[in-house]
């Protein structure tokens, strides 16, 4: 029993977490006593203990499951256990609930965990639409409703879209570049385990006194300064989710720069790798800003720093600038990897090389650069200095150009191809349609007078859902279907996949399309009830949204059923050229039993005799040459 309590795992995590609560109680008691509280009851403050616990408990959980063991042994000078790779691979479902350094296991952990939160976030949306089905409804209270949409957005952004792309990237990128694993496997494992921690904090906020955080995912100060303790859950959960993002992005950057197979030059990289490279640059540069914004709020709340208290010289608008300096690039963090997925699928399914490969890569980098120059377009009506609107409107319009280049290049790739209209391709084509609509409404919103009218109305809700649902989620579904055979070694059910696409596509448009009109008519967003004239359109939206929710069940059933008992997948069911399709499904534990050498571009479809990579059986000579570029991860 003591061995179990000392070994890394959930037992050790459990007693450490209890200890962390004790620590939080003790430290807040000591500090409050030493700073002059006079009566015993004042020494113990529930909010103070909770705030410190929210930081201490997750960290002790991560220590408990063994996230820091190796580094701890190394830092204290004890003998470290050299990685024998015995932990690689997953043999039973239980292996997915342990610290595991295999990028393929982590990729699946990431993806499944993210889809769990997709279902939770979607369920919250269903509850919101139930409340909004008619005006003056009392399905939930206004405070609960505000909590529902805040947690809905926060979970789907920080626990679904951002990490699910990191999950797919985690699985696919090392395979695509011919590497045996990620550059930092232990960091990779830790970055995954930060996510369920962040998600648990967000969901547990519903149990907090005063309810869940209810100030929107934007958590504008000073409202968030004054909100009940639930807001602290948000401020801290974002730190854990953000730390996870940064770790993974660093890992991707180093992996892509240093671990490419021999011959894999940057301009032979599949565009998914380019897309994740660009995304990781955004994440590493931008994410510290949201961390800062939430630390400001946390310090305001817990210790009265008055960063955003105007009466004490605080600057309310500064919160918005710092917040959007992350959160606008975050929009690109949530779509660029999707662009990569679409490029992979369209090339393979249209059987043609990507049209204008280099422009596709450069437009990603252009979006990275321009992405940092547009943040204040979220603040056209914020009361900031008027002149800032002008340059921000220009850059906001211009950033549509590289996005347009990508759309036109995809269309040109389809042209004269031999199109396979299976599920991944349907989602890719659906994405092109709905994302174009989201892009068009985005360009409209760059026009300041129009934005002054519809800012913060349902037009914005429609726009972001066309971009995040019609854009990101469509690419995610496309990618999951596309790599499902590689990840699980099984084929999904094509008929159900098509049903899933058509129900999603139709009801998505029926749900979010009418929201444009509601917004133009002046319906504010984030309202628990609305004027009677919006009753019909909201009832329609609610009914469509329930159908949209049900369509997800087709997907869930298909995934679970196919994973358990689908037909075995061959190594390369799509006849793809990129390296992940040249190994078995699922791939061998160290990815490449034979050493890959890259000799050509990734999308040379239709070129007679073209090959992207050659796999050669390891001979002593090639092992030496190969390990120079694609060395084993943990030496």
């Amino acid at each position: 029993m003591t061995a179990k309590l000392r070994a890394p795992g959930f037992y050790r995590a459990a007693w450490l977490m209890v200890g962390a609560v004790g620590f939080a109680t003790l430290i807040t008691w000591l500090v409050r006593m030493s700073t002059g509280h006079t009566t015993f009851t004042h020494y113990l403050s529930g909010d103070a203990i909770l705030t410190v616990s929210l930081l201490a408990v997750p960290i002790s959980f991560l220590i408990g499951i063994g996230g820091f063991d190796y580094w701890y042994y190394w830092a204290t000078g004890r003998p470290t256990r050299p990685e024998d790779h015995s932990g690689h691979g997953a043999h039973t479902w239980r292996d997915y609930f342990r610290i595991n350094t295999d990028h393929k296991v982590i990729g699946i952990q990431y993806t499944v965990n993210s889809f769990f939160f997709l279902l939770v976030g979607g369920l919250l949306a269903m509850l919101m639409r139930a409340q909004l089905a008619q005006p003056g409804s009392h399905f939930v209270s206004a405070n609960t409703y505000n909590g529902l949409f805040s947690v809905h957005a926060t979970i789907l952004i920080f626990l679904f879209i951002i990490p699910v792309f990191a999950g797919l990237g985690n699985f696919v990128i090392p395979l695509m570049i011919g590497a045996p694993d990620m550059a930092f496997p232990r960091l990779n494992a830790l970055s995954f385990w930060l996510l369920p921690v962040a998600g648990a904090i967000m969901l547990l906020s519903f149990l907090a006194p005063g309810g869940a955080f209810a100030d929107g995912w934007t958590a504008y100060a000073p409202l968030s300064d004054q909100a009940p303790i639930g807001q602290t859950f948000f401020a801290i959960a974002v730190q854990f989710a953000g730390a996870s993002s940064i770790m993974t992005a660093l890992n991707f950057l180093v992996t892509i720069i240093t671990m490419r197979a021999p011959g894999m030059s940057f301009f032979r990289l599949p565009l998914l790798v380019w897309a994740n490279f660009a995304t990781s640059l955004l994440v590493v540069i931008a994410t510290p800003f949201i961390a800062a914004s939430q630390f400001f709020v946390l310090l305001d709340r817990a210790l009265g720093f008055n960063f955003f208290n105007a009466a004490k010289g605080g600057d309310v608008l500064m919160y918005q600038h710092v917040f959007w300096f992350y959160s606008h690039p975050a929009v690109y963090i949530m779509i660029l990897p999707g662009f990569g997925i679409i490029s992979e699928i369209i090339a393979v399914k249209a059987r043609k090389p990507i049209f204008g490969y280099r422009m596709m890569a450069f437009s990603l980098l252009a979006i990275v650069g321009l992405g940092f120059t547009v943040w204040a377009h979220h603040m056209f009506t914020s009361g900031m200095a008027n002149w800032i609107r002008i340059p921000m409107a220009i850059t906001t319009s211009i950033i549509a150009v590289p996005t347009g280049i990508k759309v036109f290049s995809w269309l040109a790739t389809l042209w004269r191809g031999v199109l396979r209209l299976d599920t991944p391709m349907l989602f890719a084509l659906g994405f092109l349609t709905t994302f174009t609509l989201g892009g068009i409404s985005g360009v409209m919103l760059a026009m300041i007078p129009f934005d002054i009218d519809v800012s913060s109305t349902y037009f914005i809700v429609a726009h972001i859902h066309y971009v995040l649902f019609g854009g990101s989620l469509m690419t995610i579904f496309a990618g999951v279907y596309y790599w499902f055979p590689k990840m699980t070694g099984r084929m999904y059910d094509e008929r159900l996949g098509k049903w899933h696409f058509w129900t999603t596509f139709v009801f998505m448009n029926l749900t979010f399309g009418p929201m444009h009109i509601a917004g133009l008519q002046g319906m504010p967003r984030r309202v628990a009830t609305y004027a009677a004239k919006f009753a019909d359109i909201n009832l329609f939206i609610s009914i469509a949204s329930f159908a949209l929710g049900l369509s997800t069940l087709i997907f869930v059933y298909n995934m679970i059923n196919s994973w358990r008992g689908g037909p075995k997948a061959v190594a390369n069911p799509w006849r793809g050229m990129t390296l992940e399709w040249q190994v078995s499904s699922p791939p061998p534990i160290f990815n490449f039993d034979r050493v890959p050498t890259v000799v050509g571009g990734p999308y040379e479809y239709g070129v007679p005799g073209a090959v992207h990579g050659i796999l050669t059986p390891p001979t002593p000579a090639t092992v030496g040459a190969g390990s120079g570029m694609a060395r084993a991860p943990s030496q």
Binding site: K352, S397, L414, P449, G522, P524, V607
Partner: protein, 259 residues
Amino acid sequence: MSRQRSLTLALVAGVIAIALGILLSYEIRWFPVQASAQARNTDHLYHVLVIATIPIFVLVVGVILYCVWQFRMKPGEELKDGPPIHGNTRLEVFWTALPSVLLLSMVGYSFVVLHDNEKKPAHEIQIGVTGQQFFWSFQYPPSVTGGAPINSYKLYLPDNESVYFNMRSKDVIHAFYIPAFRLQEDVVPGITTHYLATPDRVGNYVAECNLLCGVGHSLMRTTVHVVTPEQFQAWIKSQLALSSSSSNTAGGAGGGTSG
């Protein structure tokens, strides 16, 4: 069907779709009633944007549908690949340059509208707006009332007169939004924000808080009464009478918060 013929057919269908789209854009009642000079400009801008973007959307969807129609894999083509076209520099330059020009001209036009909407008028009246959880109050300074300042929970505006709102918040951020005017601006603690509106239609319109301000946010609504100048003066007189009759209480509060 020959490639030539299918392309012609697609082109005709595309043109018809664009024409139908533009016609439809005239038929849809996008907005609530226009009640300010700014609303007319903004609605016009919106309609121009819609008309400019319909061809782009039809182009994208048209190409997708045409490809699905003409290039989908037929039985027996399971191992067939498309032609190895890697790109076309001229085409790529074209679809970089043309959207840039289009976007910059749209944003240029929006700046013209913005300038018109915010141009300082020859004459304007100034009214204070105070937001607090979860209601609005309005301060009429002596320059408007011709007597003591008025603090009111009702907003009356004279028709065809430019109004410059000076807005302050007592607690958190609100946004003062009048959809019929197509105008809003955040009301931010610590600073005074402004906007200019020129109501030009008599009637009652909704003014609502458009930035989440807490549990009562969705009910933070009031009515804007746009009335003729004579009715406006009459209303001012009645308010002045009201505040003097209730002596220090209402009038004192008005004086304390105006500005």
